[in-house]
């Protein structure tokens, strides 16, 4: 495998992780996941519907475990305790699966992470043997604290969840990327393909998104666009961009050998 993304010791080809929420139906979910090329897909953990009909399909039926690594999340949890309970249930649901996405929210309107509760939950989960990928603020100090606790990836927001506002503070992301020894993923805020490419060009190891695909007019087409954008951004990062030369033009074509102006002998 060339240039794999390694999370908790396991290699992945795709650097795009995709959420499974907000699609029109399970068929669209499946088609979007396939078009994205994602290998890791996030799922939420919720109470079963009471009186659910026996034949009703479930999300996991559409996303075969042979093809996808499920990443159960704690979306909607506002305390460390609820997040930890949710992921213990997820581990039981998925037969001992250890890779999880921790997010502890602090505000129902902006869905900003509650970092003290996030740190507390991360300590408990790491102690219990979970491989924790953690949604966090773009604060390089707290990102390092999460890494020191033993999280397997830190996932700062690029802008608030579901906003599609793009990469608002590339400098903070760079501070986190430059110091981290674990993968850094942008989680939340990507709106379109160029945002994903910018995240990757900054040096992010991967990008996690849901709304940018699910809320596109054509989610399956956008999923493909994101696949290409993440790949293009990664290759541009590896290739190393040319230095910026502000206000200094430099022609790409030779400056000599031009044809002579009409009416003048050369």
């Amino acid at each position: 495998m060339q240039d794999p993304l390694i999370i908790a010791g396991r290699p992945y080809t795709s650097r795009l992780l995709v959420g499974t929420g907000k699609y029109k139906d399970f068929d669209e979910t499946r088609l979007a996941m396939e078009a994205s090329g994602a290998e890791i897909v996030t799922v939420a953990i919720r109470r079963t519907n009471i009186g659910q009909s026996a034949g009703e399909p479930s999300l996991l039926d559409y996303l075969p475990p042979s093809r996808y690594t499920y990443l159960p999340n704690t979306a909607g949890c506002y305390t460390a305790e609820d997040a930890v309970r949710t992921l213990r249930l997820a581990r039981e649901l998925l037969d001992g699966h250890a890779l999880v996405k921790l997010e502890v929210l602090g505000d129902p309107n902006n869905l900003y992470p509650n970092m003290p509760e996030t740190l507390k939950a991360a300590r408990t989960l790491v102690n219990e043997g979970f491989d924790v990928m953690v949604y966090c603020s773009d604060d390089p100090i707290q990102a390092r604290m999460l890494e020191d606790i033993g999280c397997v990836a830190v996932m700062p927001l690029a802008s608030i969840i579901g906003s599609g506002m793009g990469i608002l503070n590339p400098w903070n992301l760079r501070l986190i990327i430059d110091n981290a020894k674990v993968p850094v993923l942008v989680d939340a805020g990507v709106g379109t393909a160029s945002d994903a490419a910018i995240a990757m060009e900054l040096g992010c190891d991967a990008v996690l998104m849901n709304s940018a695909i699910a809320h596109a007019r054509d989610p399956v087409l956008m999923a493909g666009a994101m696949r290409h954008a993440v790949r293009a951004g990664r290759e541009a990062f590896l290739a190393g961009r040319m230095p910026r030369k502000l206000y200094m033009a430099e022609a790409s074509s030779p400056a000599t050998g031009m044809i002579s102006p009409l009416g003048k002998a050369a």
């Binding site: 996030t42 939420a44 079963t48 009471i50 659910q52 009909s53 997820a90 649901l93 849901n210």
Partner: protein, 67 residues
């Protein structure tokens, strides 16, 4: 008679059931779910053995779409 709370709703039972019987009773037979009883996970292998007590609180979850 005993009452148990199932995902926040009170259910009245005529006699004691195992966790598995309770899942069947709630229409979840054969579904991939996980069960927490009074804050502790009940491993799937024990669903057929653990008997519910009066006042037990169950949380029963599944995976759904989410980001």
């Amino acid at each position: 008679m005993l009452t148990v709370t199932f995902n926040g709703q009170t259910q009245t039972l005529k006699h004691r059931l195992t966790v598995r019987d309770m899942l069947d009773y709630m229409g979840l037979a054969g579904k991939r779910v996980a069960v927490e009883r009074n804050g502790h996970i009940v491993p799937r292998a024990e669903h057929g053995e653990i008997l519910l007590h009066d006042g037990d609180s169950l949380e029963v979850i599944a995976a759904v779409g989410g980001g």
